[in-house]
């Protein structure tokens, strides 16, 4: 079987497969927004954005943008039937108040205890917190989508995070270009692997110790 790390859209599709009907879902800036490109079928997924969008539609087509309608990444999006607009305070009431079923965020590092780091890189004075710290403590579930290693091959699934934390002990699922991982009280559990890779090969590029799921299977690419 050919070894093939997963592409970004495939990784995000996998997380989006887990979204359940009627869930309020918040997607972080960057890679996580790809989760919105998935056809949800008969599941009604309510996308929420921290700038006050509750239940928005797909990206606006070129030439059809409403200049006053953007998502958290400042991309032009659309309304859908039922969209509601709230101001920033109420938006974070939704977020911190526990109304978001899942937030999918990017990260630099995730640790086996559920900590993650996403706002500050080594040697930089500034950082970009945005709404991530509020989402991380407020959403019922925090899932991370990220590259499995840094550009120079260093692991990002760690025993403990090295970078400044975004939140403590909140991550329950991680999808990378090498597989799908659950975080349990026992640490990372490898649930699904990228085509052609063995658990041992994935462990090699992972600092934390991986437990292998008894239901280990190939990375899923279509809805259940």
């Amino acid at each position: 079987m050919e070894k093939q790390p997963l592409d970004r859209q495939t990784i995000c599709n996998r997380l989006a497969m887990e979204f359940e009907n009627d869930w309020v879902v918040n997607l972080g800036i960057g890679m996580p927004t790809l989760c919105a490109n998935v056809p949800f079928g008969d599941r009604d997924i309510i996308l929420q954005s921290e700038n006050g969008l509750v239940g928005y539609g797909p990206l606006a087509k070129e030439g059809e943008e409403n200049k006053n309608l953007v998502d958290a990444g400042a991309q032009y999006v659309t309304t859908r039937p039922g969209t509601a607009i709230v101001h920033h305070v109420d938006s974070f009431t939704i977020i911190r108040g526990g109304y978001v079923e899942v937030t999918v965020l990017g990260a630099y590092e995730v640790a086996e205890n559920g900590d993650f780091a996403s706002w500050k890189t080594a040697g930089r004075k500034g950082g970009g917190i945005g709404g991530a710290m509020d989402l991380a403590v407020g959403a019922k579930r925090v899932w991370i989508t990220m590259a499995h290693t840094t550009r120079d091959g260093k692991p990002r699934l760690l025993k403990r995070c090295n970078l400044p934390l975004t939140a403590v002990g909140v991550v329950s699922m991680v999808a990378t270009d090498y597989g799908l991982f659950e975080i349990t009280s026992g640490g990372f559990v490898l649930k699904e692997f990228a085509p052609g890779y063995t658990p041992e090969e994935i462990q090699e590029i992972t600092e934390a110790t991986l437990t292998i799921s008894p239901d280990l299977r190939k990375f899923q690419t279509r809805n259940k």
Partner: protein, 220 residues
């Protein structure tokens, strides 16, 4: 305080006036010191050296490979920056508006943000104490107003603008579409009551009014 989240709701005309005026030693409270949407973005205040302190939710580019002018000036120690989680930022503004002395939030617990702050365990969960974030002036943008100062925002233009209007002593609003007589706006559908607004100004249509933005930036 400068409103806006991305271009919608950014008071570019009022910020432009501030740039022309050249007021120095400002403390700027804003989500992000953007500087690439237009010539009157909040980041321009920084680049021109008018800013002493920034309170913001982003003090670096979201892409670690990029380094913004903000960061270069920040690393050089040319101003002070207080980085605040976005939800804590608006909640602190709201506390300032609502006469709340301080509040316990779970946001930031266990992170650098919590360092030096009072902690409290409530019902088994740990919170940190955060204080109000008021301002002397807020610049905001809305779509419609009446001469009493009642405002309506369109779509995500709303964002920070209502809470900034409430949290600041003086609020100036630039208006995109129209300023009507009192009574023309439905009382049920006023987003910011006029008692929070001190000055309104109708801005010209684009391009002078800077209420469009280059659509090639959508991928930013």
């Amino acid at each position: 305080m400068l409103g806006g989240f991305g271009p919608p709701g950014m008071p570019q005309n009022l910020t432009g006036a501030l740039l022309r005026r050249g007021v120095k030693d400002l403390t700027v409270i804003v989500n992000r010191l953007d500087s690439s949407w237009s010539a009157a973005d909040p980041g321009k205040l920084l680049e021109r050296g008018f800013v002493r302190k920034v309170c913001c939710a982003f003090s670096a580019s979201p892409h670690p490979s990029q380094v913004t002018e903000f960061e270069r000036l920040h690393e050089a120690g040319l101003f002070e920056a207080e980085l605040i989680p976005q939800g804590t930022m608006v909640e602190r503004m709201r506390a300032a508006a609502a006469g709340i002395g301080a509040f316990y939030t779970p946001t930031g617990v266990g992170t650098e943000i919590a360092e030096g702050k009072e902690h409290k365990v409530i019902n088994g969960r740990t919170y940190i104490l955060e204080y109000p974030l008021p301002a002397d002036y807020a610049f905001i943008r809305a779509t419609r107003a009446d001469t009493f100062g009642n405002l309506q925002y369109h779509m995500t233009q709303r964002n920070f603008n209502p809470v900034m209007a409430m949290a600041s002593k003086n609020t100036f609003a630039e208006i995109e579409e129209s300023i009507e007589e009192p009574g023309c706006l439905d009382p049920d559908h006023i987003h910011t009551p006029g008692i929070f607004i001190d000055r309104i100004v109708k801005i010209p249509p684009p391009p002078e009014g800077l209420w469009t933005f280059p659509s090639e930036r959508r991928d930013r």
